[in-house]
Symmetry: C2
Subunit: 420 residues, 2 copies
């Protein structure tokens, strides 16, 4: 028996027809990668296969041969499409055996929690590969499985439901992997992100190019709805050195492109704006036409936002603009709902009707219909009223309905941030 | 030279450190799978690798050896982390050559569109593997690439930015793949989804079990925030027979679990509710506290919703509940903001203040803070007022802040749908 090598690299296999057919977006893989990177274990490859035993065996077998350390998600639930355990048991040449204690636990849980007998379809969850270690599931009924061979190569099987997977990962699997990783080596994979908005990827690249390559560091450009994120990553360094290098590199970048950066790491622009309002001692309200509540949703998604975010009005129909925001009939009649006077009146109405110090308004043509020659799809007016001083800007945004709405909210927040 | 076999199976390799590190959720893979399935081409495996030339070569090479047909996304942009083209050129033993026409087109595009010279960092986009066919990009500046060997094995390289990938797929790649697939065989992979809400996965399975296995069809249980989706899939049948089998199977399922099904396929519950309002000749407005605009956002996300969705009030702060919705001081003082009297008054206020026939209200404790023994996190009151007739219900929801908010909106819509 060889002692297992210190764990640095791992592969992930996500399992399920729904992933392969594209009916579910695979969010588990991203969550796993972030959590593992934080402890210095790098996901070096990922594969997705359907609910198909030979494909599961093949993909997991290849990953084991390459890396010796594999996490799977999916295929542990009660229903008939769940094949992960038997497929991987076969790969390790193990029988499936009934875990009587787990069966009793599940039966008891159904009685106490749901007041009824456990459905027969849950019984398969109590079958385990011989020699497997159960990973307790405090967030559902299917336990995770740890299966290991004599050479220390292992597969950790987690459920596919994101909430259960995340819970089990945090409770049980991460501590087990940390022990495998060994603390002596003490190196990490660490990243820092500079979030930019309002500038194209290649223009950013041109401004950054004169700096030359960054020392022992990768720089990725990640364009998205929020703007372009710049992600710096260092690998295999002790944590203090990794942090120092990231700190130096981000200082260098900020000296060149600081005007485009609104936040570091994962902070949402809504969070940045709420902090700015809090510092300024001002409360904010919204008036939303084409975004229909999306801006309010983003602001209220931030826990603890209630001290500065008051709410506002979803003024989708013009009558609501008139009656709840006081937008003048004349402005709507003469200029239309997507116009500077209406945007300004909406911002002022949001402020005065809620008693806030700041009102932010959005009115536009999100598409796919409703565009005209003067106001094509993507035409959006945003306005912001700070203590009665109103400014407005016309935007021409691109993308589908969701993208136009999201970008309109992002632009309104960026304008307000600059103003504050 | 062997004539390429009719295309039925394909593999997808998505490329990018940001995907492997988990900083971007891979939505391209799901989109590709759905579009390909609709034309009878099945994605049989998916892999994700980082911006690492050997890993790209290895993963694409294995997929080519297994299936002979590969689509990649990512790594075609202007920045230095883009390695896809040279890595795959090496796999096919091709040189990289400058495409002068494309370089000129890009230079011209920068002048006419942005009024400036093209950044040097875009130049790499004009380098192509020798013998490659360019796939035009009408949604960005990096063309896609089609590279094929003498045996008809191919790799189609698409950009990673979702909007560009989707546009190029629809404009150029799907027609090319359709020709490869051949129309003679005429079989498809086809799915139908029954969307349920308000019932657990294993209870659904128990109700369905007595039906026995469904003939030549797979049935997947897909639990999510909306509820549990049931996905039926048939493969390799002519389209009319596939549709007939799916129709029979869904009729059988509906006879057993029809009470839990609110829609077929991808329809959102908001869309179903808007249609019900339209049929009933009633317009709807919202009053949102803890959801902060999320319900309005979902209703207004449906194109053409403006004939029945008027808007409403985001009553995050109690003053907004009082002033814009007319919630009585006494109700707030005696029962608190999360209570039946307040929910009822909010629903009535949404209806009367906007002039709608229906008002829907949500008030609750979304967490992570704000819970108490009487009203723990997840306590939500929903109320719906139809023509002055108000009903309300207390819910106890689980999950994180986003999940509680989303489930509150879903439950409010489900109640309104039942009422209509």
């Amino acid at each position: 028996v060889t002692a297992p090598a210190a764990l640095r690299r791992i592969e992930v296999v996500t399992i399920g027809d729904e992933l392969l057919l594209g009916f579910t977006i695979d969010t588990n893989a991203a969550h796993l990668a972030r959590e593992l990177a934080a402890m210095g274990i790098e996901v070096v490859r990922r594969a997705t296969v359907g609910d198909d035993a030979p494909a599961i065996r093949d993909a997991v077998g290849q990953a084991l041969a390459r890396t010796g350390a594999v996490i799977t998600t999916g295929g542990l639930g009660p229903t008939s499409d769940d094949l992960t355990k038997p497929a991987i048991a076969e790969l390790f040449a193990r029988e499936m055996v009934l875990d009587a204690a787990h069966l009793r636990w599940m039966q008891e849980r159904w009685r106490s929690r749901f007041g009824r007998e456990m459905p027969e379809s849950n019984r398969a969850q109590a079958m385990l590969p011989a020699g497997a270690i159960k990973l307790p599931n405090n967030h559902g009924s299917a336990p995770g499985i740890w299966l290991e061979d004599a050479d220390g190569r292992f597969v950790a099987m987690l459920p596919g439901v994101p909430r259960e997977m995340r819970g089990m990962l945090a409770d049980t699997l991460l501590p087990r992997l940390a022990a495998r990783r060994g603390s002596g080596a003490g190196t990490v994979v660490r990243s820092r992100t500079l979030r930019t908005t309002g500038i194209a990827e290649s223009l950013l690249a041109d401004r950054i190019a004169p700096l030359g390559p960054l020392e022992s560091m990768s720089l990725a450009y990640l364009p998205g709805l929020d703007g372009v994120d710049l992600r710096l990553t260092v690998r295999d360094l002790p944590a203090p050195e990794a942090d120092a290098r990231l700190g130096q590199a981000s200082t260098t970048l900020l000296s060149t492109i600081g005007d485009t950066v609104y936040a570091e790491d994962s902070a949402d622009l809504a969070e940045v704006v709420l902090s700015a309002c809090r510092r300024a001692g001002k409360r904010v309200a919204v008036a939303e036409s084409c975004t229909g509540g999306m801006l309010g949703m983003r602001l209220s998604a931030v826990p603890g936002s209630s001290d500065v975010f008051l709410g506002g009005v979803i003024a989708y129909h013009d009558d609501v603009k008139r009656h709840l925001l006081g937008v003048p009939d004349g402005a709507l009649r003469d200029h239309g709902a997507v116009s500077e006077p209406v945007a300004r009146a909406m911002a002022a109405g949001a402020r005065t009707r809620t008693g806030a110090e700041i009102g932010v308004a959005i009115t536009g043509v999100a598409g796919p219909g409703g565009g005209s020659e003067q106001k094509p799809v993507g035409t959006v007016w945003v306005a912001w009223d700070v203590d009665g001083d109103v400014e407005a800007e016309r935007l021409q945004l691109w993308g589908d309905r969701h993208e136009v709405r999201y970008r309109a909210g992002q632009a309104a927040l960026a304008r307000l941030r600059r103003r504050l």
